[in-house]
Each structure stands twice: as structure tokens, then as C-alpha cells.
């Protein structure tokens, strides 16, 4: 069973040289810490940064330099700043290669719900609807089950959806699961020490398990 950092570490292995990557709030933000040396990527933040760097050293925070999570950040050499229309312009134009974001639910046809719990939580979708509607490659980082112990990998989303048929891969504390083009989840990797049975039990949607399922390589 993985902790948040291990999930981020596993996802970091999906990041390839030359990619522009948008990282959502939460676990996805942690991915930046684990991108292997020698892999050149640029992080896009949808409030208007390309080439985002790490958090500033104490005392060097600049109120005019934040990321989409409103956190103070820094810029790397070769970075650029632009307005929100251009930011979502490049997202819609599919210039951003990979989007990593959190989710409340993912359905077996790749629908995602992550912006609203009717009558309860209504923070808004932020840029998530734009990202999932356009990104070529989307990876979801989330817990396999919610706090009530219910699976978040469902036959159909129960919450208001953020985007249709857009999720390709899900990384949880238990497994790496793909969404098949024809619908249905497919088990790709197990977390160290987690059995296939545990994963099947935690997955409400249809889960294809083919052959031997390898254990994740994390480091």
C-alpha cells in the first residue's frame, strides 16, 4: 500500500523527456519532486506559467508569483508567463502533453468527477473541465476507496461529472489501472505487498485482470 509520496513517485515514471506537464492540486503537485534527473520537462500552471520551479526559500516568497493552487513558487530559466486566455488556449490546443489530477470518482469508461458534491461541497471546477476536455493524456492520482470505504473506481460516476471518456490511467495506493478504449478497467500493476484480490475487492467497476500482474517499480 502506497502513501501519497509513493503514488507521486510512481506517477513521476510516466513523465517522459520533452513533455509539458500540468499538475493539479494535492498528490499531483508532489510529482514534481520525483521527476528523474536527466528528464527535461516543463511544468505548466494554468494561472499562467510555463517552466514553474520549486517553492521559494523562506523570505523569498513573491505575492505576484503563485501557482494554480495559490502557492508561492519560483521560475526556472527559460520560463514564461502569460494570461489565462493563452494558458487555456495552449491547453485546448493540446500543447500540454500530460495532465495529472485528482478525482473523487472515475468510471470504467473514463469519465471523471472531481468538482462538486451536490448540497455539500461546491468549490467549483477551476481549470479541471478545460484540462480533461483537451489533454491528450490524463493520469488520475487518487485513493482507491473513499473515507467511507467505498470504491472510487465505478461502473458509472455518481457525482456530477467533470469530463467524459477522458481518463487513460489511474494510480492509487493499491494499483495502476488503465481505462480500456472500449470501456472497463484493466489492472496493470499492484502496489508492493498488495494482492490482486484486494484490488478486485476495492474496485466497483469492471476490472480486467490478465495474466500475472507485476508489482510496481517505484524507485
Amino acid at each position: 500500500m502506497l502513501d501519497k509520496n509513493a503514488i507521486a513517485k510512481r506517477i513521476a515514471r510516466e513523465v517522459k523527456d520533452g513533455m509539458y506537464v500540468n499538475l493539479g492540486i494535492g498528490i499531483p503537485t508532489l510529482v514534481a519532486n520525483y521527476i528523474p534527473k536527466g528528464i527535461n520537462v516543463e511544468l505548466q500552471s494554468e494561472n499562467g506559467i510555463l517552466g514553474m520551479g520549486p517553492f521559494p526559500f523562506e523570505g523569498e516568497e513573491d505575492p505576484d508569483l503563485i501557482n494554480a493552487g495559490k502557492q508561492t513558487v519560483t521560475l526556472l530559466p527559460g520560463s514564461s508567463i502569460f494570461d489565462s486566455a493563452m494558458s487555456f488556449g495552449m491547453i485546448r490546443a493540446q500543447k500540454v502533453d500530460l495532465t495529472i489530477l485528482g478525482a473523487m470518482e472515475v468510471s470504467e469508461n473514463g469519465d471523471i468527477a472531481n468538482w462538486k458534491i451536490p448540497g455539500k461541497m461546491v468549490k467549483g471546477m477551476g481549470g479541471a473541465m478545460d484540462l480533461v476536455a483537451s489533454a491528450k493524456n490524463i493520469i488520475v492520482a487518487m485513493q482507491h476507496v473513499n473515507k467511507a470505504g467505498e470504491s472510487k473506481l465505478l461502473p458509472k460516476c455518481s457525482l456530477p461529472i467533470t469530463g467524459l471518456r477522458c481518463i487513460k490511467r489511474i494510480v492509487t495506493e493499491l494499483a495502476v489501472v488503465d481505462v480500456l478504449p472500449q470501456g472497463g478497467f484493466k489492472l496493470i500493476e499492484r502496489a508492493p505487498g498488495v494482492s490482486v484480490e484486494e484490488i478486485i475487492k476495492a474496485t466497483a467497476g469492471k476490472l480486467l485482470v490478465e495474466g500475472d500482474i507485476p508489482e510496481m517499480v517505484i524507485d
Binding site: 505576484d64 503563485i66 513558487v73 489565462s84 467549483g124 478545460d130 467533470t162
Partner: protein
């Protein structure tokens, strides 16, 4: 040169009335028009419809207008930082129209670019698409559905820039740019407050983010708190 300077925030919003629609620049608390918001609070104008990506926090930014119940309706993409906002929304006091962030940005840009409508795939198949025209296009080799979304045409647009001149030209600093150039281009009347007013000619002509033609009134803000919402740092090793 056409001189757009006014003396103060109060003068800049003197004809901003109850019931108007206003767009405001800023992302979170970054780049918000602090002086104009203070003037709106002081003026006590009510029943506003506010187009702004966020709604501030409880005691800063648009949160100050929410406290005074000056806002009737918010059009935003993300409002997660504000308890009073959530309370007013869940109780039905406040009408809230949540729309995707890119849609918000592009609908503002559309106004400034004279485009009555734009197409975006954001929100297709979701409750955001309800009642909207859907159209299928091929773009970048892929055929998919797009929503037709209309330009925002707010009565007032209010932004904060880093530097500006009497011609109304604006320059923004780092990510304090965010929605502000788009907001600035969208207003029937656009008000810009700036941290630094400079002499015409001091801003390099080819480094201006918003040309003065979009700005109707400009003034230097009295003071800026520039509050940080999420102070995140790393330790020096």
C-alpha cells in the same frame, strides 16, 4: 495622446451603480484591484453581478463585498477558499454560476476581441453544458464536441496592473497578470489601478500587455497589501 487619468478609486467608479455587472481581475488574492474593492465597499453599491475567477477570502478581496452582501450573483470557476461565500451560496442568498476557468478567460477575451461567441470543449457532457449549443468540429486531427459560449460584456471591468501610464497602457508583473488583461479588454468602462504610474513613453511600446484603447480610467492605488494566500516555502539546505 488621450489622457485617461482620474484622481482616485472613488472617481473611477463614481457611475458604478446598484445592479451592474462587473468583471474583476486577479487569481486568488494575486493581482486583485485592492483599492477599487475598498472603494466599492465604501460606496456600498448593491446587487452586483461579479465575474471573477475566485471570490477572495473571508476578510480580503471580494470577500469584503460578500460580507456586506453587496453581491447578488457570482460568476467564477473556483470559490473554495471562502466560508462566508459557501454559507451564502448554500443558503441561497447568493446566486452562483460556476463555469470552467478557461471558458471564463476566453469569454472575457471574446468581448475585447469583438467575438460574440467562442467554442470550447470544456464542460461537454457535464451540467455546464445544459441548455447550450453543442457543435462538432474537427481540430488537430480529432473530431469532438464543443460548446458555444458567449462573450461577457460587463458594465465595468476593474483591474490592478503593476505599471501604467496616462494613455491607459498597462503592464502586469509575473502571475499577477492572470485574468487581468482579459478583464481589462472586456469592460464597457474599464478601470485600472496601478502600483506605479509612469510617464507616457516610459513603458516600452512593444512590451505593453494592454493597450490604452481598452482602458477608460486609470489611477495610482494608494497602498497595496498584496496578501499571500498559501505561503509555501522550502528550507535552505
Amino acid at each position: 495622446m488621450i489622457n485617461k487619468t482620474v484622481k482616485s478609486a472613488e472617481e473611477a467608479i463614481k457611475d458604478l451603480h446598484d445592479g451592474m455587472t462587473i468583471a474583476l481581475g486577479g487569481f486568488g488574492l494575486c493581482g486583485i484591484p485592492e483599492n477599487c474593492i475598498a472603494a466599492l465597499v465604501k460606496k456600498g453599491v448593491k446587487n452586483l453581478t461579479c465575474i471573477s475567477n475566485n471570490a477572495g477570502v473571508d476578510d480580503f478581496g471580494l470577500g469584503l463585498l460578500l460580507q456586506g452582501k453587496q453581491i447578488k450573483k457570482m460568476i467564477s470557476s473556483y470559490v473554495g477558499e471562502n466560508a462566508e461565500f459557501e454559507r451564502q451560496m448554500l443558503s441561497g442568498e447568493l446566486i452562483v454560476d460556476l463555469i470552467p476557468q478557461g471558458t471564463l478567460a476566453t469569454r472575457l477575451m471574446a468581448a475585447g476581441y469583438g467575438m460574440p461567441a467562442i467554442f470550447t470543449p470544456a464542460g461537454v457532457g457535464t451540467e455546464v453544458a445544459e441548455g447550450k449549443e453543442v457543435r462538432r468540429f474537427k481540430y488537430n486531427g480529432v473530431e469532438k464536441d464543443y460548446l458555444m459560449e458567449y462573450a461577457f460584456e460587463p458594465d465595468f471591468a476593474i483591474v490592478k496592473a503593476w505599471k501604467g501610464d496616462a494613455a491607459g497602457n498597462l503592464v502586469f508583473r509575473l502571475t499577477a497578470r492572470n485574468f487581468s488583461p482579459l478583464v481589462a479588454m472586456s469592460g464597457k468602462i474599464t478601470v485600472a489601478e496601478v502600483e506605479q504610474m509612469v510617464e507616457p513613453g516610459e513603458l516600452q511600446a512593444d512590451q505593453i500587455h494592454v493597450p490604452g484603447i481598452y482602458v477608460h480610467r486609470i489611477f495610482q492605488g494608494q497602498k497595496y497589501e498584496k496578501r499571500i494566500e498559501q505561503r509555501t516555502v522550502r528550507k535552505k539546505m
